[in-house]
């Protein structure tokens, strides 16, 4: 099977319309709507318990929604057409540990209805894409963590889906393997595959995602490109990061006076103009705080996330 280049562009590959899902008294997904186009990577960021997993599983068709709609390439989620168009790479290593890479891929290929020559071609393609050709006859449980992750990804790609959902695919993976995984995902995106990518790592979202949706308490609270999110949340403001030597209580009291916060021994402030920095630092000196380091920067995704949810992404 030759690697077919799909058209990137305006085609809506995945659409979620006012999705609601409740588990008893808990509303896990509360009216979520989003779209992903072909050749686009949408990042889904949210703290633990925000509803990401339920949303992903609704897209896969494993969760029956209470209301709303999910379509994949125009087909209802959970239908045979939708399943064949969708690939899901779950966070858990969902492979068969006691059989080889090739045999794993063969199993999942058959689950998608592949057989004969088509199956062999798909296996060869996936092994190449995941850079596991040299390990194809190794039993899965003997692979390194990074290789297992790549095999986990390859197993979801056997049927060359048009939409792929990656649920934290780099958890527990070393930096070298992580980089390899990023390259694999970028190759897919460039080939026109629509991607939904959930992660707790801001740098991953910044590198891979064309757009980002921030979800909290079951709702999309912000959506857009990184620049759009920063602009919407902070406007033209900048951030000042200052580290001081001194008593923690004094630093926190000083930061509070100026509507800032202290995180990991660093005080953060949002300012509109650079001229606001000097009064801040003067007040710190008067409070007996010794300045160690100061940085001025534009807010990043982490700042946006923290501002909107009140929590760190990895909380």
């Amino acid at each position: 099977m030759t690697a077919s280049v799909q058209k990137a562009g305006t085609e809506t590959a995945l659409e979620v319309g006012r999705l609601v899902k409740r588990f008893g008294d808990l509303t896990a997904v509360d009216g979520v709507s989003l779209q992903v186009r072909a050749g686009e990577c949408l990042g889904l960021l949210g703290p633990n318990g925000a509803g990401k997993s339920t949303l992903i599983r609704s897209m896969v068709g494993r969760v029956i929604q209470d209301s709303g709609r999910v379509t994949v390439m125009g087909h209802e989620a959970g239908s045979t057409e939708a399943r064949l168009a969708l690939g899901w790479i779950p966070q858990e290593l969902s492979i068969y540990p006691r059989i080889s890479c090739r045999e794993n891929l063969g199993s999942f290929g058959r689950y998608y209805g592949l057989k004969g020559h088509a199956l062999k071609e798909a296996i060869a393609w996936c092994l190449h894409w995941a850079a596991l050709e040299e390990k194809q006859d190794d039993v899965a449980k003997t692979l390194s963590g990074g290789m297992k992750r790549r095999l986990n990804m390859a197993a979801g790609m056997m049927h060359r889906p048009k939409v792929v959902l990656f649920d934290e695919p780099t958890v527990g993976v070393d930096p070298q393997s992580r980089n390899r995984i990023f390259e694999m995902i970028e190759a897919l995106r460039d080939a026109g595959t629509a991607i939904v990518y959930t992660t707790h790592y801001m740098e991953e979202a910044e590198r891979l995602c064309d757009r980002i949706a921030i979800i909290d308490h079951g709702r999309i609270i912000a959506e857009g490109t990184k620049e759009e999110l920063v602009e919407k949340t902070f406007g033209r403001c900048s951030q000042v990061l200052a580290r001081f030597a001194g008593e923690t209580e004094a630093i926190e009291a000083w930061a509070k006076r100026h509507d800032g916060r202290v995180t990991h021994e660093t005080a953060e402030f949002t300012i509109e103009q650079a001229g606001e920095i000097a009064p801040l630092l003067d007040d710190a000196t008067k409070a007996g705080l010794e300045l160690v380091d100061v940085t001025l920067r534009r807010p990043n995704l982490e700042s946006v996330f923290l501002h909107l949810t009140g929590r760190e992404l990895r909380d």
Partner: protein, 421 residues
Amino acid sequence: MIALKRDRGALVLSFVLPLAFFSIFAVIFGRDNNTTPTVKLIVVDQDQSQASRALVKGLEDETSLVVMTRPGAKSKNAPAPADYTAATAETAVKAGVAPVALIIPEGFGQHPIAFGPGAGGSTLELLNDQSDAIAPQIVVGLLQKVALTSMPSTMADEGMKYADKYVGGFTPAQKAKVDEGLQELRKAEADGKTNAGSGSNSAGAGIVAVNERAVVGENKKSPMISFYAAAIGVMFLMFTASGSAGALLDEAESGTLERVLSTRVTMTKLLAGKLVFNTGLAFVQLVAMFLWGWAVFKLDFFSHLPGFAVMGLCTAFAVAAFGMLLASLCHTRAQLGALSTLVILIMSSVGGSMFPRFLMPESMQKAGLLTINAWAIDGFEKVFWRDLPVTDLWPQVAVLVGVGVVLFLIARRVARRWEYA
């Protein structure tokens, strides 16, 4: 299947272990001759008369009895021990040397037998171990038979006494004729020319002539081989089936199950596929078991292929569905292990996999019909022992297939918890 091929431990458990258990049972119970167990019998002859000796000889000639009149020598060169006495015989029974001891009292020869109670015959004493309920019954039955056949002259003498009494007394000429006949009979008896005590295997041994003709198993040497191949086979099939079905739990725990269900595979297709695989695996196990029986224990396998195929497939299907249900009911492998051990051992003991059902009380035999084991064993018995045609297997086939379908449907229903949230 690939994982099973690579897991040598699982392969051993699936195939070698059942063959080993079957072999043990086959060696113990798969004799070449009859199925009636021999009974050890200690005999104490306190009378030492012609009649008592004839009785002891008659008992010794019975092939179902192993008669011991003295303890065994402690070593080859040691002198022969003294004969058992009443006291030492009782001690031997208590020590478990033999389950039964027969004490022939002094004076037996003068009144060995009598027709009817209170007619003055001697009373023999039978000492027995209550834990063996069958041995005393066998000995008493054979004793009656031997008593009637080993002393024909005594029988005749007693018979003449009754005749003398009820005809109003023989004339002197008749008495002389009777005495002459009895003398000849006693002489013939002493010379061993009568049929006395010719053992339970001979036709015509006894007052009523009996001609034995085997209508089942007349050409078979080892009736219990096929029984235990089926009995042990079904039990181990159940263990393997539940273990194999437990792969479902591993998949659920690892998340692989959810991934599989996100593909084109539905829960019904997934379970059906596992059912087909486990049925095949169980059938292969049965084939291995019976081939082993053919190769090592001379089981007549190939002339019963059609019946074996029908019963084998139905049994395999039923146990595969059974394993699937057990796995569906559990949440972890540990739960499955505990539940399957408990259920399978109970079913196997009640259903006849460990002990033939025909030896159980009737209530237990009926209870056994609630198990897959009983129906499977009955079916294989029909094929291999009774040589019945395949069409006669319809009750077993109907029950096993029906049970398999029902168990699978219940497993499918229970598995819904994994289907959707």
